[in-house]
Structures are given as structure tokens and as C-alpha cells.
């Protein structure tokens, strides 16, 4: 995105990952009606609510963290691990906890190298998250699930040079995820709730895949807003 600030940070920090998730919470809230409408046409209608509710929980957990001693806020993995726990523990349905697995793998990858975590760790975490979600849900690309957005995102991150600035690589990942999510529109679902609705799901993009694209896209927006701070 051309709006990427020239002074973009080269590594992830606590502040950037917290802002990323906070921005995604805002996005999830604002697109909840659209995601719910998609899921009502093709699934069981609870995805938008679960995602927005989960991210509201993440925002509350991050707010609580901001009052914690600085020692608890020294790693970019902390906001990701916090979000993972909220999604795994407190979100119902199926897609929400699967989202939690992605966040858990991102947190783990970032935690291996917290001082210099960047594109290399994001690529490793996204690939591990996609693998975990596929182990659990047994979906392949083309089954019309969030895997259709996540696998292209992981591939896009892997293709970036390891020292690419994270905003740039996540931007690439968002574009690839968005393309994958759009491509689910004409598919017939083979996994997930939408698989029971047969051709009713045709013409409707998978809401889980859309949400994955929005997650990666939120980093760009978060950086912009961080840089607009006084």
C-alpha cells in the first residue's frame, strides 16, 4: 500500500502487534453485519458475531495488559498470545477457535525471536497456523473455508525476503488472502457448515476466508494510525 509510512518499523514490537489486533477488533466490529449476512446465506449465521465478540474480548484483555508492569509488555508475542487464549478459550462455534490456533502459532513463532521478530517469524507462524488448522479441520484449498485465504497468505509471506519490513510483507499476505477469499465465491463448500447447504453457498464468499484477509490487512491500517499519533 502506498500509504505505508517511510519510517515503518523494521521489527514487530509490543505496540505494533497490539495496535494491529486493536485495529482488527475495530474492523471485525464494523463488518459484523456483512459477515453475518454471508454466513446466514451459506452457514449457520454465527461467524460474524463470534469474531466480533472474540475481538472485543481481545481488546478488553489488551486494555487490562496496558495496566500491567512494563515487564509484561516487552514482547510482540504477548498481544498475539493474549488474543490466542481468548479465541481458544472463550469463542464458540468452530471457526473462532480455529482462528485461535493461527494466533497461537503466530505468537509462538514471534516469541522465538522477540527482539528482532519480523517477516521471517510471521511467515513461519502463518505456515504453522495453516498447518494446524488443516490438521484439525481437514480442509484443503478449494473446500471453501478460511484455509482458502490462509494458505495463499502463508505462501506470500514465505516468498518475501526474510528482512522485508513487516508492513510490506503483511500487505502482500493480505492481498493474497483477499484474492483467495474472493475465489471462494464460486465454489461449492466441501467442509464446514456451508457444506450442508450445497449450492446455496455458491455466489457467496466464505466469511472465514474474508476475515483472514481482513486480519492481515489490519496491520497496514494499524501502522498508519500509530504514526498519526502526536
Amino acid at each position: 500500500m502506498s500509504a505505508t509510512p517511510t519510517s515503518a518499523p523494521h521489527h514487530l514490537t509490543y505496540d505494533t502487534t497490539a495496535a494491529w489486533l486493536s485495529r482488527f477488533a475495530t474492523t471485525a466490529e464494523s463488518v459484523e453485519p456483512e459477515l453475518t449476512a454471508l454466513d446466514q446465506r451459506a452457514g449457520d449465521g454465527d461467524f460474524g458475531t463470534n469474531l466480533a465478540g472474540g475481538m472485543a474480548g481481545v481488546r478488553r484483555a489488551l486494555d487490562a495488559l496496558s495496566d500491567a508492569p512494563p515487564a509484561g509488555r516487552d514482547s510482540p508475542a504477548v498481544p498475539l498470545a493474549t488474543a490466542a487464549r481468548v479465541f481458544l478459550d472463550d469463542v464458540g462455534g468452530t471457526s473462532g477457535p480455529l482462528f485461535g490456533l493461527l494466533l497461537q502459532e503466530l505468537a509462538t513463532a514471534v516469541a522465538t525471536n522477540p527482539a528482532t521478530a519480523g517477516t521471517r517469524e510471521l511467515a513461519a507462524g502463518t505456515a504453522a497456523g495453516a498447518a494446524a488448522i488443516q490438521r484439525v479441520g481437514e480442509a484443503e484449498v478449494g473446500d471453501k473455508t478460511l484455509v482458502d485465504a490462509l494458505v495463499p497468505a502463508a505462501l506470500a509471506l514465505a516468498e518475501c525476503a526474510p528482512d522485508t519490513e513487516p508492513g510490506q510483507s503483511l500487505h502482500q499476505a493480505a492481498a493474497a488472502a483477499h484474492e483467495g477469499a474472493r475465489a471462494t465465491t464460486d465454489l461449492r463448500a466441501r467442509r464446514g457448515r456451508a457444506s450442508y447447504t450445497g449450492d446455496h453457498a455458491r455466489g457467496v464468499p466464505d466469511p472465514g476466508a474474508m476475515a483472514i484477509a481482513l486480519l492481515f490487512a489490519s496491520y497496514d491500517d494499524a501502522l498508519s494510525s500509530l504514526h498519526q499519533l502526536p
Binding site: 481458544l88 464458540g92 468452530t94 477457535p97 480455529l98 485461535g100 490456533l101 497461537q104 484439525v136 481437514e138
Partner: protein, 332 residues
């Protein structure tokens, strides 16, 4: 909800869990924060914790089989709904032995996913975890069914045999392999003359004319692929038995362990009559009935129906089946 003795569809599971915990306080403890029940007694030899669970409405499965010689913990979901991964994760963490934890999972998409997410979380904490998938329902044995056969009555057989094996101190891989073998050697088939009452609506899950049976019914009110006219019980049981025997793997000597299981509203009087018919059907085919168990053990709320499960057995499986168990509902 006029037909059940419960205040509401919302409270029926929670009230039952609280009651179960107090009725069997000597055997199990209830952990309402994380939504699981666990045993108070466990063989000191046991190195691997056994965890099962699934939707409520199948009582006494699974909570009734927590205890020495069987499960270490059970995770009840809402009526016919998978437990949350957090329940499974917390229960597994609580009962994992030095050899880890084994999940016994009925083959349903929600159960597979939630146990799978819990397994990923356990891996993150370096707790070894493996899964036995029970998929014994012959009625769903079709290439058109991508998700595979459903898991039903044989789950109890797997839980009993693995419980005994776990008490011998066997490791995770060995138990997982044994569980897969028991599942491979087990098939079940169910019929119903009336559907269960859906708690939310108070009505029957589906309607059947008086003169037909739902043949191959599921345990959640899933209708069967077809119905069959009411026929003499001996003929019905023989038809079911023949199909089950044909689906079992070949063994050197044809011998089986049988579970005659009520689906909730079938009386003991009827179940023993069914057992009598089963004995005759096996006699006709020259198959030895090594052991059997009759009762309402894997139910489907108040469905008027029964299931037959057969396990192609051998001396080692029988030895494990015969090992003592002490749980709220194990009848032997």
C-alpha cells in the same frame, strides 16, 4: 418442554451434571469452571489419561464410565452438541499421565474439530496426545458419505477395553493402536419405532407411522436412509445380525462380544427379548457369543429404539473386557 422432568431445555444438562456429581461423589469430581468430570480413583500403574466426551443426551455415556478401569475424565457438551475445546483441553491437562493423554472420539465433525483443537493446544504444552476415532455405525458405511461412519455404541466397548489396558501401564502409542483395532473390529446398527423428544420444542424429532421402523437411525435424531415394515422381532434381529457379521473383519474363529443397547425409551423387558433373539440368530450362523452386555448405555434421549454392536473378539480383548471396573454406570 412438557415431556421431560426438567425445568427447561437450558437447564436440563447443567442440573443433571450437578446431580450426577453429588449422586456419585465417592467416584467422580465435577469441575464446573472448565466443564468436565474426573475420576477420584485411578490405578497407580496408569501412565496415560483417558478422556472422552461429546454431546449430552447419550447418558450414561460418557460420564457414567468415569472411574477405576475406564475413563479418567469426560467432557459433556450441550444436548447433542460437541464439547468446547477448552473443556477437553482442561480435562486433558488435569488427567494426563507421564505418558500423556488419549482422546476417545466418536466420529462426528464437531467432536473431531474440538478434540483436534484441544490436541493442538496440548502439543503446545508438550503434553503427548493421541486420538482413537470410533466409527462403528454400519448405516453410514457409504462411499457417498465423505465424513465416514458415525461413532455410536462401540464407543463403550472401546472405553472399557482401553481402560483395562491403560491400567496395565501401557504407553500412548500402544493404547492408540489397540483402540483403533477395537474400532476396526466393531460395527453397530440401530432401529427405532419412535424418535426422541427434542428438548427445545417438546415435539418428536421426526414422525413414524405405526407400522414401520426407522432402520439405521442415528443417535441424534438423524433419520435413517430408509424404513422397514414392522416384522417379527426374531426376523428383525436376524436381519441386523447378518448385516453386522458381514461387515466384521475376518477372524480365525468367528466369535463376538455383543452389546444390546437401548436408545432411551426401550424397556429392559424388551432389551432382554432382543438379546434372546440375538442369541438365536448367532446360533443359526455358527458364531460364538463370548460375552454380552445388555442395557441402556449409549442412549439418544428418549428414543424408542435399540442398537446392536458386535466386536470380533479374541482372548486378549476378552481378558481386558473382563478386567474389573468401578464407575457410576459400569454394570459388570
Amino acid at each position: 418442554m412438557p415431556r421431560y422432568f426438567a425445568d427447561s431445555a437450558e437447564s436440563i444438562v447443567a442440573d443433571a451434571l450437578a446431580g450426577f456429581a453429588s449422586a456419585h461423589a465417592d467416584l467422580v469430581s465435577h469441575h464446573p469452571d472448565h466443564g468436565y468430570l474426573r475420576t477420584r480413583n485411578r490405578s497407580p500403574e496408569r501412565r496415560v489419561g483417558l478422556v472422552s466426551g461429546g454431546g449430552s443426551g447419550h447418558e450414561p455415556l460418557h460420564a457414567g464410565f468415569i472411574g477405576a478401569g475406564m475413563l479418567d475424565a469426560a467432557c459433556p457438551g450441550r444436548i447433542f452438541a460437541s464439547p468446547h475445546n477448552r473443556q477437553i483441553f482442561e480435562a486433558s491437562r488435569a488427567v494426563a499421565g507421564p505418558g500423556g493423554v488419549l482422546h476417545i472420539v466418536k466420529n462426528y465433525t464437531g467432536d473431531r474439530i474440538n478434540f483436534g483443537i484441544a490436541a493442538e493446544r496440548l502439543a503446545h504444552e508438550q503434553i503427548p496426545c493421541a486420538r482413537v476415532l470410533v466409527d462403528d455405525d454400519l448405516a453410514t458405511d457409504s462411499e457417498d458419505i465423505v465424513v465416514g461412519r458415525r461413532g455410536t455404541g462401540a464407543t463403550l466397548i472401546v472405553e472399557k477395553i482401553l481402560g483395562a489396558a491403560a491400567d496395565e501401564g501401557r504407553g500412548l502409542d500402544e493404547l492408540a493402536a489397540l483402540g483403533a483395532e477395537v474400532a476396526r473390529r466393531s460395527r453397530s446398527l440401530a432401529v427405532a419405532s419412535a424418535a426422541h423428544t427434542t428438548p427445545g420444542t417438546g415435539g418428536r424429532a421426526f414422525e413414524l407411522p405405526d407400522d414401520v421402523l426407522e432402520f439405521g437411525v442415528g443417535i441424534h435424531g438423524e433419520r435413517a436412509e430408509g424404513t422397514t415394515p414392522v416384522m417379527p422381532l426374531g426376523q428383525l434381529v436376524r436381519t441386523m445380525t447378518t448385516r453386522l457379521l458381514a461387515a466384521l473383519p475376518d477372524t480365525p474363529r468367528p466369535r463376538v462380544l455383543a452389546l444390546v443397547n437401548g436408545l432411551g425409551a426401550t424397556t429392559s423387558l424388551e432389551l432382554y427379548g432382543i438379546h434372546h433373539a440375538l442369541t438365536a440368530a448367532l446360533d443359526d450362523t455358527g458364531v460364538a457369543l463370548d460375552r454380552s452386555l445388555t442395557g441402556t448405555l449409549v442412549s439418544a434421549l428418549d428414543m424408542r429404539g435399540f442398537s446392536l454392536s458386535l466386536l470380533a473378539t479374541d482372548d486378549e480383548l476378552l481378558r481386558l473386557w473382563d478386567a474389573p471396573a468401578r464407575t457410576p454406570a459400569w454394570p459388570l
